[in-house]
């Protein structure tokens, strides 16, 4: 029973921190498989509504397809990858490099932005993959783009980029 209380206490802490930053709902995923990214935007910029959410797709995450959102216009920027990847047998050298949702999310509300993509096996399991996000409001921009340097405590960052831990490929 005391274990449950500890768990509840931990949940208090985790819930408190998780709400502060832009983050992914699923925080770990195996390489060599597709990943559904649910990006959680908990608040606007200093009380102002969010008008635009821009996501930069990092190298190694390919074949990205965003999910449309009612009330939001959706754009993608396409570009060349740094190398050619094997996507289910198809050599793939270009694709979506940036996803942009434009709409309005009042500061008092919470929303999620979804895309899926393939975590290629060129990504190293055990490392973290960071996906920089820029949140634009009428009064300015919040850039969730900070990536911890080697050995740096990710909690010390003011505006950390949302990230996920890469797991070894399943089944091989």
């Amino acid at each position: 029973m005391s274990k449950m209380i500890i768990a509840a206490a931990l949940a208090v802490g985790v819930a408190g921190v998780a709400q502060a930053h832009v983050s992914f709902e699923t925080k770990e995923a195996p390489v060599g498989a597709s990943y559904k990214a649910v990006l959680r935007v908990p608040h606007g910029c200093e009380g102002e509504p969010t008008l635009k959410v821009r996501v930069q797709i990092p190298e190694g995450l390919i074949a990205v397809k965003p999910m449309p959102k009612a009330g939001w216009t959706l754009e993608t920027v396409k570009g060349k990858y740094a190398k050619t990847y094997d996507y289910h047998g198809t050599p793939t050298a270009e694709g979506v490099t940036e996803v942009i949702w434009t709409g309005e999310l009042p500061d008092a509300f919470y929303d999620e932005f979804v895309f899926r993509g393939m975590l290629t096996d060129s990504l190293a399991p055990g490392t973290d993959l960071y996906v920089p996000v820029v949140q634009e409001c009428a009064n300015g921009t919040e850039r969730w783009i900070e990536i911890p340097a080697a050995g740096q405590d990710p909690d010390s960052l003011e505006y950390p980029a949302p990230g996920l831990k890469l797991l070894p490929a399943v089944g091989g």
């Binding site: 449950m4 509840a8 208090v12 820029v134």
Partner: protein
């Protein structure tokens, strides 16, 4: 209520409260405003945040560079009221604050404003040359004297004078000096703490002074000096080989204690200067520490005097050579140019000391080549003349030690020559590097200019550059400014740096919409 149900309720409550949109708190406004000049001192400073916060620390850095003052801030919703403490007077004051926002993240910053007029800011506490600096120098001077007489006396009485009946007066003096060394080391350490924070003598027993002292390099010096004193007592009490061995240990500890502290021992190149200081100290501890024992031996017209003198010379001649060599090396490092021997207070002090040393050397040569052979020959009045000469050496030796303590009060020409017209810092990151100059690089308002290039040398066109300047060692939270682009460079400021010392400079360079480079380096800011 069953516990699992309670736990579940806690969880639900946590999720509900977590569901409220929360960001890190941000400072929205302040009264008086940042960089403002107000006519009269306000009763308090009000910091307004974007959300309710809990204050953690508020620390005042008063104008004039005095010791920081911690105060207890009062939260009022999204505002934090920081009362003005007694030590805040006219001039530019800095309030360093740290709060924790609702999401548990601490956020900090520094708020700079001026009362009456903006002042260039004093020297950092610790670089002051006021009463506390004189007291600290006096404390170190007396400790030096005790070390010289205690450990130097032990070396002479145990290693050089093997007559079996050394002068009781000289032994008593060495024992007293050795016994006084540990308490004097402790006192000097406490005075050092007062000097660092520029506190009055009454604060000698404050925890603040002692924690500052313990964190300073002088703590190592004091510890070695105390150990040297204890070893000297053991050496003087023990006889035979043990006494000789422990006397050598005491000598080594005392000499090393000098190499850990002071602007001579820490001048670059440090390996050279620290070694020179240790050698210099070993030589003068031996020489001056031996004098009372020599005078005592001469007074008693000891039959073994001639042999004792012979052994003393065998040590003294190479040690005096090392003394002159190490002293010259240090003088070259510290003084740089001959003209500085006259132009600067440090140089003049050194000149007087060199004259005293020359006289001392003259007496030593006289002893070595005139009086020592006389004693060996058994001239009747030779011991008495030798004794008078040694007493003169003691007087000169004390004068030299006093002058050497005075060095600590004057900046060496090396440091004066280093008074900059700007401070330049190079900041390196994996992809971006920057050269940042602070003009004039002294405490007070500084214009900032930054050149930014990528590490492969290609020019860079950053979207935004932010600078933050902080002094984490003294608990001063970052002062943040945004740079603006002017042609090839980014400019900001003036940033008001309240005091001299090492400042941590951080640059946040927004390379592209999605890429930010964070660079950090330390800039040394001189006194105004």
């Amino acid at each position: 209520m069953p516990l699992p149900l309670l736990a579940l309720l806690c969880l639900v409550a946590a999720l509900l409260s977590g569901g409220r949109a929360e960001a890190h708190a941000q400072l929205v406004a302040a009264d008086p405003a940042a960089s403002a000049v107000v006519a009269e001192a306000p009763a308090a400073v009000t910091l307004s945040f974007s959300e309710p916060v809990r204050p953690l620390v508020a620390r005042w850095f008063p104008s004039g560079g005095g010791a920081p003052i911690d105060v207890t801030p009062r939260p009022e919703g999204a505002q934090v009221i920081v009362p003005l403490p007694g030590g805040i007077s006219s001039g530019t004051n800095v309030l360093s604050w740290r709060v924790v926002s609702a999401d548990g993240h601490p956020v900090g910053g520094s708020h700079v404003f001026s009362i009456g007029e903006a002042t260039a800011g004093g020297a950092a506490a610790g670089l002051s040359t006021g009463a506390s600096a004189r007291e600290a120098a006096l404390g170190r001077g007396i400790l030096t004297l005790a070390l010289v007489l205690g450990t130097g006396g032990a070396v002479f009485l145990r290693i050089i004078d093997r007559s079996g009946a050394p002068s009781p007066a000289a032994t008593r003096l060495a024992l007293c000096a050795a016994a006084a060394s540990p308490p004097l080391a402790l006192l000097a350490l406490g005075l050092q703490g007062l000097d660092i924070l520029d506190l009055p003598a009454a604060a000698l027993f404050s925890a603040q002074a002692w924690s500052a002292a313990m964190a300073s390099p002088f703590a190592g010096t004091a510890a070695l000096a105390a150990l040297a004193g204890v070893s000297a007592i053991v050496a003087l009490r023990a006889g035979g080989a043990v006494g000789q061995g422990v006397a050598l240990v005491a000598w080594g500890l005392a000499a090393t204690s000098f190499a850990l502290f002071g602007h001579a021992a820490t001048a670059p190149p440090r390996w050279l200067t620290a070694t020179c200081v240790a050698v210099h100290a070993a030589a003068f501890i031996f020489w001056i520490g031996a004098l009372p024992g020599l005078a005592g031996a001469a007074a008693r017209r000891d039959t073994g005097l001639s042999r004792t003198l012979h052994r003393f010379s065998a040590f003294a001649v190479p040690l005096v050579a090392l003394l002159v060599l190490s002293g010259s090396a240090l003088a070259v490092v510290q003084v740089r140019h001959l003209s500085a021997l006259i132009d600067t207070a440090y140089g003049r002090l050194l000149t007087v000391k060199l004259v005293a040393v020359a006289l001392l050397l003259l007496l030593a040569v006289l002893n070595r080549f005139r009086l020592t052979p006389g004693i060996a020959r058994g001239d009747r009045d030779a011991p008495a003349r030798f004794r008078r000469s040694v007493v003169a050496e003691i007087v000169l030796g004390l004068l030299i030690l006093a002058l050497a303590s005075g060095f600590r009060l004057t900046p060496p020409p090396r440091a004066l020559a280093a008074v900059p017209t700007q401070a330049t810092v190079h900041l390196h990151g994996p992809t971006v590097m920057a050269a940042l100059t602070l003009t004039p690089g002294r405490a007070g308002p500084n214009a900032v200019e930054i050149g930014i290039v990528s590490t492969d040398g290609a020019p860079l066109d950053p979207l935004e550059v932010r600078i933050s300047v902080a002094d984490p060692a003294r608990g001063l939270e970052p002062i943040r400014v945004k740079a603006v682009r002017e042609g090839e460079v980014w400019k900001a400021g003036p940033i008001l740096l309240p005091y001299a010392g090492d400042w941590t400079i951080r640059l946040d360079v927004l390379v592209s919409d999605f890429e930010k480079a964070t660079l950090e380096a330390t800039a040394t800011v001189a006194s105004p």
